[in-house]
Amino acid sequence: MGRITLRNVSKRFGEVAVIPSINLEIGDGEFVVFVGPSGCGKSTLLRLIAGLEDVSGGVIEIDGVNATGLPPAKRGLAMVFQSYALYPHMSVRRNIAFPLKMAGMDPAEIARKVEAAAAVLNLTGYLDRRPGQLSGGQRQRVAIGRAIVREPKAFLFDEPLSNLDAALRVNMRLEISELHQALKTTMIYVTHDQVEAMTMADKIVVVNQGRIEQVGSPLDLYRAPANLFVAGFIGSPKMNLIGGPEAARHGAVTMGLRPEHIDLSTSAGTWRGTVGISEHLGSDTFLRVQVEGPGMITVRTGGDSGLRHGDAVFLTPQTGRMHRFDADGKAMA
């Protein structure tokens, strides 16, 4: 069980409304990712759900029960912090056992659960070490271990991978996804990294300036962004956003084209441009093409592209894949 409902939830710090008003439904067993630029209120939203901040208005329900006034411990949620927040003076074993000890569980039962959690997280050999003697990835796993032993209704992750190096981040991403497959518990995950959001989420919630811009599955958001913000935020490299007369010809104020939805040719096409920087990723090559009129356009091409800086190319947008936005930045049908 782990159904979380937010109704008209708002948060003000003094005069500043960090979150004006949010409605959100999180189903049992879902992996939900809150994504948005830094300072958009996504972490605050998570802390409101956790009970670490008081809401200024609205109702938070967990499994249909009003949890708005409940203290964090009573909500049955577990949280993994960005800094891991391990207890430095306790061994890994005592760190993981801490929530169970606080719950007054029988010591033999605690030992059994800690061993089980350690086995799942490959921490068995490290149980008697202090957090200070572990690597970043191991500390992360201890923090997750401390969360899973409680068998919470839902896990809350606050940018858990941002302190890890790139290779480890990819590994931990997979481990967390596998954990979700194994436990089938609701998970709420906050990140500013849209790649993490795309790869892990069942449902992405795009947050901007305390408002929810769009909610949907990763591919829904990728294929049909509801507005300019989502269009620019989801996808890497970013969608090409073109304004001016070029967009007006298609009846929009701004038009958006993903790099893979532009045909590239050396002989003929709609736009003529010069290749600038090209990024070779092996499987793909991303070319930055300077086009007269629309300006700088990013185009995806195969990994074996032989084009070089300064080469002349022709670009043709795939009209069916084009996104069109009106003056308010909303997507047009």
Partner: protein, 290 residues
């Protein structure tokens, strides 16, 4: 810069300071040691003669010595207990966000800036005096008999005065330690179901152990040599009820003019201080290792 040449040069250049500091320590110590083996009375100048260990024998068999030893330990332990527990509680209070925080913190630190003689005089005459003191007035206002603090329980009174002076120090050190506690750890503990008391016991206190160690070590060094407060308030009395080792050395050499005996007492005090220091380092010094 770690070549052989630069290291030699560095040693050469710091040597004047080191030598000066060394002499500063060793000359008085050596002279005290020398005097402690002399029959040296200020009333009979020029009559010094070798006395062997007799100064030590007289000092250590003096019934006042054991009282002084006990008083010293009671004073040090009493002040340590009051300042550490009081310091933790005050630091917890001062760590709460409140209006006028800056001014309140300065007020709390203020007693530390009052010199011992002055604070002892203020306490004796304005608070603990059985006729004019505020406590006496308060007792009379409630229809009670005023309590003569310095006559009835002199050691306790001095302990309170010294503790009042050292409480700000403990508070200050422990407050800075509290402020360095990661708030996410507290939040994690709250999510793990720890109530305020459990959070204090399992998170705050372990975090503070190192600072508490520092407070205990530094205070012990200074508390072993408390003198002005005793001289100004009770003069070690009534009888020897509030005489500490430091004060006994003063009595021996300056009131009984027995410099040799005083020097012997001084050496005994140095040895005892070192014994205490070794015990302290054994017991709590490992907290200082990271």
């Amino acid at each position: 810069m770690a070549t052989q040449h630069s290291r030699t040069a560095a040693r050469l250049m710091i040597s004047p300071a080191v030598i000066l500091l060394f002499l500063w320590m060793i000359v008085p110590l050596a002279m005290t040691l020398y005097f402690s083996f002399l029959r040296y009375n200020l009333l009979m100048p020029g009559m010094e003669e070798w006395a062997g260990f007799s100064n030590y024998r007289y000092f250590l068999t003096d019934p006042a010595f054991f009282t002084a030893l006990r008083n010293t330990l009671v004073l040090v332990l009493g002040v340590l207990m009051i300042t550490v527990t009081g310091g933790i509680l005050l630091a917890l209070l001062l760590d709460q966000p409140m209006w006028g925080q800056g001014i309140v913190r300065i007020l709390v630190i203020a007693p530390f800036f009052v010199m011992p003689t002055v604070s002892a005089l203020v306490w004796t005459n304005m608070f603990m005096n059985p006729v004019n003191g505020l406590f006496a007035h308060a007792a009379k206002a409630m229809g009670l008999q005023p309590y003569d603090f310095l006559a009835q329980s002199p050691l306790l009174s001095i302990t309170l005065i010294v503790a009042w002076q050292w409480l700000p120090f403990a508070t200050l050190i422990l407050l800075t330690a509290l402020q360095s506690l990661d708030s996410e750890q507290m939040e994690a503990a709250a999510m793990d179901g720890a109530g305020p008391l459990s959070r204090f016991v399992y998170i705050t206190v372990p975090h503070l152990t190192r600072s508490i160690t520092v407070v205990i070590l530094i205070q012990t060094i200074f508390l072993l040599s408390v003198f002005a407060e005793i001289l100004v308030t009770t003069n070690g009395g009534p009888g020897t009820a509030s005489t500490t080792l430091t004060y006994l050395v003063y009595v021996q050499s300056m009131l009984q003019f027995d410099v040799g005996g005083g020097a012997a007492g001084g050496i005994v005090a140095v040895i005892l201080a070192n014994v205490v220091a070794i015990f302290l380092m054994r017991m709590i010094g490992r907290n200082l290792d990271a």
